[in-house]
Symmetry: C2
Subunit: 449 residues, 2 copies
């Protein structure tokens, strides 16, 4: 049977997977430091639930059916295409067992049948945090959520990430203040700025019924981007008044102010950000890797007044999601990151001959008992060959049982350990020897940009 | 839309997920200590690859298709039902990039359309380790692989697990030695011992063409189970001679001998074990939780002479797989395990009033900087209410900024931290205070059996 990769379903070699694990470990650790417990939801949801959400996501759903299934009464199932729809369902299903405001993180694969391209996959991993409450959600969460992500980005071995924040009420109030009533339609056109530029956006706005002057003022609003609170003054200079605009400016001020206090430079007010999805109602987030703005947003989200509702109770929420596979795929694809070795093992314990394998195994057991990952050589080959085995996998050390000079009157010598990068070989005792901290686990190496 | 669970697709509440994460962390940490890097394979494989393997697995496969898919030339895809078939494909696909002998671990969800029942799911997590080599595989790996699992079980908060080991060559040589030529057919019948008992197995063997004496001798072999090497003598006492039997006894001796030296009591020779799957050719493993033998095997595997083959090169391997969801589902379902809290947060930082939230956030940042997971209270409610918020989630500590007695001449007091279990409240400094190690992360609690 011929073996060919399946387009859109990337797989990593062990060294690449080590980079991915490093990312996922930092993400989880940071989420947990901020008190977000993990949940996982099943990979499948009823298709009618998937179809009801996420705009035109219906085109992207993978259906799932038992191949040998006799006729059943089971609901038609599909693979989830994000983690928000399953989370909303989870909240409704388990509301009686959850304590609100409920915060959770969720790191799972999702599937979309989109056309694969660079950094766009059909199977990919997302890492989400959300806070939901019953009835009302305190506004401070809108500042807290992006700060968790800012901490993740500061810990990841990548360049500077900037989280761009806006509040949907700002363009909404502004548009209404200049007499534009089709807020959603106007937002949709302004959202194309990155793709088609301001001149074409202005033309489209005029085509949609705005005057040239209204169009220019929409573009002026969208051009405002500040790292501090001066966006308020910049908006005021445009001379538009509307209570919704005031609400939006006040809300965004709170978020940026908290950002400046806790993570200077991580958050910017960017009044161009709208997010395509219609269910965001307040703060919205996008994220760019500085110097790679054309790669688009790696981390997006926002506030929704109704994340979930069972008809009686409404659950407002705020959340943000990192596209882990997208980010990693681009960084690995552009050789911007690599791992120092393709195995967790730090030490290869050499085997003198097959009969003495138990001796080598005892050394390995002693090292592992102190948290040092290691492997016993597969074959009692010549030492040069055993060293090459370690070298091929990037393991920094080879351990030679009994290789040292025997003390006077002793039949066997002490063990020795060789740093195969420097060639240095010294006497060592498996019950006390410890590698330098930076060698214990694989290092993630960042290529110079 | 009505929300109902989907049978066979279990989901955990946050506290249960914390138990699962603890299991998965120990599994990964142990696999890595033994030098097994992680890989993940895509969730889907071409259906014709899935159908070719794993016996009658075809009945269990979930097919995957794009719901809005126009006609495509894409291969028909299905969700993988184990991690061995995808791993074999991964080895063939990436052979040029892997260093052999290649070891890997893999912890992923798999899907089977079987009828759900207690401890049997349609979506579940497996944790596998395998070693594969090119052409030939050194026999010592057959002893190394179960010892990794024995270490996992020793670290998990569960009762004693016993890994039962056999070698397929023992029954094969024995059967041939007593003149029984349908080895597979006979193995299949003997494999029913647990379900139908020795009397019925003997009858079935006679029906299949064995003499009553042959049947009795097969049963005598299957009854042998020893924690040491005495199984060899017990087999010899049955007076059967065959070169394949000798090979099998020698191979099993090596495995049990290594087990006795490195993990006393973890491995037993159990000559009843056969494993249903036909591709195992040497050592085979099953695992029982002592006192819960009726729950069946939680961890099984064995050696296959041909894990994968591309027609020119054959890759023999040995592997073993823990059914994580099966094990957890039963332990949680029988209330044998729980988590001490439903959140990673160890501390709730109280908020005096909304204006002083930045003060509370600074405390949280200082605690997190030293690895202490915490959460800032969602509302500046009465302190009793904030304490109850922490209590409901099982967080052991609440932090009160500035709650202590001000020193002479000082306007504000020092912070205080309260252990809400004991009620003890003491002055504390967020830049140095550290909780006891056992409070830092949620504890996994084992109910008395």
């Amino acid at each position: 049977m011929k073996i060919t990769p399946i387009s859109g379903f990337p797989e990593y070699l062990p060294a690449e997977r080590i980079v991915e694990q490093h990312f996922l470990d930092i993400i989880r650790e940071t989420f947990e430091l901020h008190g977000f417990p993990s949940i996982e939801t099943r990979a499948v949801e009823p298709v009618d639930r998937l179809l009801g959400k996420g705009g035109d996501a219906d085109k992207e759903i993978y259906g799932v059916t038992r191949l040998a299934g006799e006729e059943t009464t089971d609901a038609e199932l599909g693979l989830h295409f994000d983690l928000t729809v399953p989370f909303a369902r989870y909240v409704l299903e388990n509301a009686g067992h959850l304590a609100f405001p409920f915060r959770r993180h969720q790191v799972q694969k999702v599937w979309r049948g989109e056309r694969p391209q660079e950094g766009r996959y059909r199977e990919f991993t997302q890492a989400d945090i959300d806070v939901v409450d019953v009835g009302e959600l305190a506004p401070h969460f809108e500042a807290e959520i992006p700060l968790v992500m800012a901490e993740v980005f500061a810990k990841l071995p990548i360049g500077r990430m900037v989280i761009q924040v806006n509040n949907r009420k700002i363009p909404e109030g502004f548009y209404l203040g200049i007499g534009v009533t089709d807020v959603i339609g106007t937002l949709r056109i302004v959202d194309k700025l990155d793709k088609i530029g301001p001149a074409k956006v202005a033309d489209l706005l005029v085509e949609s019924g705005l005057t040239r002057e209204q169009a220019d003022r929409c573009l002026a609003l969208a051009a405002i981007r500040t790292e501090d609170l001066s966006f308020v003054e910049r908006v005021r200079e445009l001379g538009v008044e509307h209570p919704t605009l005031d609400e939006g400016l006040e809300a965004l001020t709170r978020v940026i102010d908290t950002g400046m206090a806790n993570a200077p430079g991580a958050l910017v007010a960017d009044l161009r950000i709208a997010r395509g999805l219609d269910y965001y109602t307040g703060t919205v987030y996008e994220t760019q890797l500085v110097g790679h703005e054309s790669w688009g947003s790696f981390c997006s989200g926002g506030r929704y007044d109704s994340l979930a509702s069972d008809g009686r109770t409404t659950y407002p929420g705020v959340g943000i999601s990192i596209g882990v596979s997208r980010l990693l795929g681009l960084l690995l694809g552009h050789k911007m990151l690599s791992a120092s070795r393709s195995t967790p093992a730090c030490v290869l314990v050499a085997v003198n001959d097959e009969d003495s394998r138990p001796t080598s195994t005892r050394v390995a057991t002693a090292l592992r008992a102190r948290g040092i990952p290691c492997e016993v050589a597969p074959k009692p080959a010549k030492f040069g060959k055993q060293i090459r085995y370690a070298e091929r996998r990037g393991m920094p050390y080879v351990w030679f049982p009994g290789a040292g000079e025997p003390a006077d009157g002793s039949a066997t010598g002490p063990d020795q350990v060789k740093d195969i990068r420097s060639g240095e070989q010294v006497d060592a005792d498996a019950s006390v020897w410890t590698p330098p901290a930076e060698d214990l686990h694989p290092q993630i190496l960042r290529a110079e940009a």
